[in-house]
């Protein structure tokens, strides 16, 4: 059975028509230790199947240590949302359900455009950041 309902899939297809550049969704799972991560892999694969510009790249968290290290993944389930050529450092951890599924879709749209949509003052201020900063936003299912 599909994880993305038909009506939602149709909506997403329409929304993805505005995609500008390809987006790669690298999804890390481990069947034995974390069955939920398999569900995330399926969800991401279904999402990517909705548009040619989206690709799902399933990675075995246990076996593909090189990819895990390269993308700095510490746990599963994890999804790295990458541009065609660029890693913006955007990751989603956990099961993207409910409201957070929308967040994942938004991340795909934003990475595809490559434009943050932020105000000029914010852009200027961020350009002046002296050091790397890691932001974590924690949520619970809604």
């Amino acid at each position: 059975m599909a994880l993305i309902r038909d009506d939602v899939a149709a909506q997403l297809k329409a929304e993805f028509e505005s995609l500008q550049n390809p987006v790669r969704l690298v999804v890390f799972s481990q069947t034995m230790a974390d069955p939920e991560s398999e569900q995330v892999r399926r969800l991401v694969e279904e999402l990517a199947a909705l548009d040619d510009r989206l690709t799902a790249e399933p990675v075995n968290f246990v076996l593909d240590q090189e990819r895990v290290a390269q993308l700095g993944i510490a746990r599963t389930p994890a999804v790295a949302i990458l541009g065609a050529e660029k890693d913006y450092g955007i990751r989603f951890y956990g099961l993207p359900s409910g409201y957070e599924f929308g967040t994942l879709v938004d991340a795909v749209l934003d990475v595809s455009s490559g434009d943050s949509g932020l105000s000029e003052p914010t852009r200027t201020a961020l350009a002046g950041l002296a050091r790397p900063v890691h932001v974590q936003v924690f949520s619970t299912p809604t």
């Binding site: 746990r75 450092g89 099961l95 957070e100 932020l118 961020l126 050091r131 890691h134 932001v135 949520s139």
Partner: protein
């Protein structure tokens, strides 16, 4: 969460994790997540709730300074 992602798109120095914390009791404890959304910038700068752009910016700038001070 989307705002944090947009900061990451804008700046090569910003990386952003969205964490659905239910399955990660260790993280929930470590970052004392009780109310959500909770944003943790660096290891020590944090706020609860969905703040506007300038609020996240202030915290990001603060974290950059804090971590500069510790090295």
């Amino acid at each position: 969460m989307r705002l944090a992602y947009r900061f990451a798109i804008e700046s090569e120095r910003v990386t952003a994790d969205g964490v659905e914390v239910t399955g990660y009791a260790d993280l929930a404890r470590r970052y004392r997540v009780s109310a959500v959304p909770k944003t943790v910038v660096g290891e020590t700068v944090e706020f609860v709730g969905a703040g506007p752009e300038d609020m996240l910016l202030r915290h990001v700038q603060q974290a950059a300074e804090v971590e500069a001070g510790t090295t």
